[in-house]
């Protein structure tokens, strides 16, 4: 579930406006540098970063870390209706409903879950950025058309939007990613456009224009880089919602059709049928989702604070 809607819309706009606030004072230390300095002193940020890094490392080296083949139905023969083998030697968290090692599936599943989060967010950022730059850089009717389009997409509650797209694309590995990406697009488009508008009137843009520098160069050389920090903040926060939303779509039966491929959201929604037999099958993937989402949120929120000039005291 996501905090989409206008809360986010307004927050996006606020975030965007900050890009226009060109750093002042601090003896020539750049915004990014000073932000990084503040981040290192913030325990919340460090907690978030540690969580994120740990999970990223696990995901990256998943095949090496997993003690067993996550697909091998090793203990299937022992499974009976109403009985799933629990923890034992070689299976520290027990087996899942088809006799596969739960720990290995969680580890390998991190890869798929993070991949869905990252790919959909990157896709959302790229498309959103393109639209935002288009609107922000050209203004005029281009701006109007793009923003109306964005408004239309924003007028559908995010999960409903994702549902419509998943249904349309049919069930496959990528429809989930695309569905989530589409719900992210308007966020980033709005963010980019807002921050570009905020900078349009700023001194350095005016100065560049006065110097006769080409518009494309101003946009890509100056304005865009200055919009990056709010973008990074938003992308970090979006990663959390993307992972949670993927779980929700899996729950709605719109996830990856290849159930053998471990993914936390699918594991969680699948485990609902075995809650009375082995609740751990649901609890572990749920914990993974919660902790990762928490990690990205902590990191994102502290990044936001660090980049906020209001907090620079």
């Amino acid at each position: 579930m996501t905090a989409i809607g206008d809360v986010r819309r307004r927050r996006i706009d606020e975030l965007a406006a900050r890009a226009g606030q060109v750093p002042e004072g601090e003896g020539g230390v750049s915004l990014t540098k000073s932000a990084f300095r503040r981040l290192r002193r913030n325990p919340v940020a460090i907690t978030g970063a540690v969580i994120v890094v740990v999970f990223l490392v696990v995901a990256a080296f998943a095949p090496l870390l997993a003690p067993r083949d996550p697909l091998a139905q090793t203990l299937l023969g022992e499974i009976r209706p109403g009985f799933i083998p629990g923890a034992r030697e070689g299976f520290p968290l027990g087996a899942d409903e088809l006799g596969r090692d739960l720990l290995s599936r969680l580890i390998v599943g991190s890869r798929q879950s993070l991949l869905i989060g990252v790919v959909s967010t990157v896709l959302g950022v790229v498309v959103g950025m393109a639209l935002g730059v288009l609107a922000g850089a050209f203004g005029g009717w281009v701006d109007t058309v793009v923003m109306r389009f964005i408004d239309i997409i924003l007028s559908i509650p995010s999960l409903l939007m994702a549902i419509s797209i998943s249904v349309l694309l049919g069930q496959n590995q990528w429809s989930l990613v695309i569905a989530i990406a589409v719900t992210q697009v308007p966020v980033f488009a709005r963010l980019l456009r807002g921050s570009m508008l905020a900078q349009r009137g700023s001194d350095y843009v005016l100065a560049s224009q006065a110097l006769g520098i080409k518009r494309s160069r101003i946009v890509f050389g100056h304005v865009l880089p200055n919009s990056l920090s709010p973008l990074i903040v938003q992308a970090t926060l979006s990663l959390a919602t993307a992972i949670i939303e993927a779980a929700a779509l899996s729950f709605l039966g719109l996830g990856d059709p290849d159930l053998a491929r471990p993914e936390w959201g699918a594991m969680l929604s699948n485990a609902q049928d075995f809650l009375s037999v082995r609740p751990e099958l649901a609890i572990y993937p749920a914990l993974c989702i919660i902790v990762v989402a928490l990690g990205f949120t902590l990191l994102g929120e502290s990044l936001r604070e660090a980049l906020d000039p209001k907090f620079r005291r």
Partner: protein
């Protein structure tokens, strides 16, 4: 003010038109198209051809779209493939349940969220503050359907305190007037029915209200902290006003401004959440209907419900903008 409202209303038109095009295109783009969606299971190519001819699906797309739009304006979104009933009728029948549920969720989120956020800010840095910050972060990170399962397992199945599904105990034969069950119970003085309907709102309402609660706590806390540092509060304190007066007149009132608007803006969130919560609690509202429609591939219902919900969402946003204009004089200037 009136001009502002009228202008905003006019701005809605292109959005709604765009939405209708989008959803129309969506149904046409589905594999098999509307005929397959309607005839379902055992449709032969001949049956589909006959169906397309019968309902003008072989005409040019723009003709079909105009007809779709013409019907949509009259609130006719066709019939559900699953039940054969008009989509609008199903929506109207189910909407009261969802409104009751979202109202409960909102009251819960506000009733708990604002005091908690305010206290957290007042005791900035205390354990309460940290707990509320962590809690509000967790609240956003838990998948709603999982939370719903946990709540139901604990309070309905294990402890048996509250009902775990439905809108009304089936053995109570309550009179229906408005389809708002709690209200119906009160109107007809069937107190047990009203109370029963209310208890059915508690668990799904809490599950649904968790994310708004988390957001409200966070925003209230942040905004109280902001306001305390504002010049006018310092001025008021410096003037020697009583602490309680400062709090009441300046801190709370100004801090609640962003909170008030946030509250209005949770609609989209609640509508999304309702799909998951209602289906877990088998709560007969709009959300569970969407859930069922996904599995039955009942496209007419999906299309109609999503369109109506989007319109509701847009209108609520409009109301929020207007109220924002009323609350904050700076907006009106533009």
């Amino acid at each position: 003010m009136l001009r502002f409202v009228v202008r905003r209303l006019l701005q809605l038109i292109p959005i709604l038109l765009g939405l209708s095009v989008l959803l129309f295109a969506w149904l046409r783009a589905l594999p098999g198209g509307p005929a397959q969606a309607a005839l379902g299971e055992r449709a032969t190519p001949e049956a589909i051809a006959r169906y397309n001819e019968l309902f003008g699906l072989d005409q040019p797309l723009y003709v079909q779209y105009l007809r779709f739009l013409g019907r949509a304006v009259q609130l006719d979104f066709g019939n559900s493939a699953r039940t054969g009933r008009p989509v609008t009728e199903e929506f109207l029948e189910r909407m009261p349940g969802t409104i009751e549920l979202t109202l409960f969720a909102m009251v819960f989120a506000i009733g708990v969220g604002i005091p908690l956020g305010y206290l957290a800010a007042r005791r900035h840095g205390s354990w309460l503050d940290s707990a509320s910050v962590i809690g509000s972060l967790l609240g956003v990170a838990i998948p709603v359907f999982f939370l719903a399962y946990l709540l139901r397992l604990l309070f309905a199945v294990e402890l048996g305190w509250l009902p775990g599904s439905g809108r009304q105990e089936v053995r109570i034969d309550a009179t229906r007037i408005t389809n708002f069950y709690v209200l119906d119970g009160l109107l007809t003085r069937e107190w047990d029915a009203a109370w029963d309907a209310f208890t059915h709102l508690v668990l799904p309402g809490i599950a649904l209200g968790t994310i708004p609660l988390a957001i409200i706590v966070r925003i209230t806390r942040a905004s109280v902290l902001d306001v305390v540092n504002e010049d006018y509060v310092r001025t008021a304190n410096a003037k020697g006003l009583a602490t309680s007066t400062v709090r009441r007149r300046h801190v709370i009132r100004n801090a609640l401004l962003p909170v008030a608007t946030t509250i209005g803006l949770q609609t989209g969130l609640l509508l999304s959440g309702a799909v998951l919560t209602e289906s877990v609690f088998a709560f007969g509202g709009v959300g569970s209907a969407i859930f069922d429609a996904i599995f039955a591939r009942d496209f007419a219902v999906l299309q109609g419900f999503i369109l109506i919900l989007a319109v509701v969402y847009v209108l609520v946003n409009l109301l929020v903008d207007i109220s924002y204009g009323l609350l904050d004089p700076r907006v009106r200037v533009r």
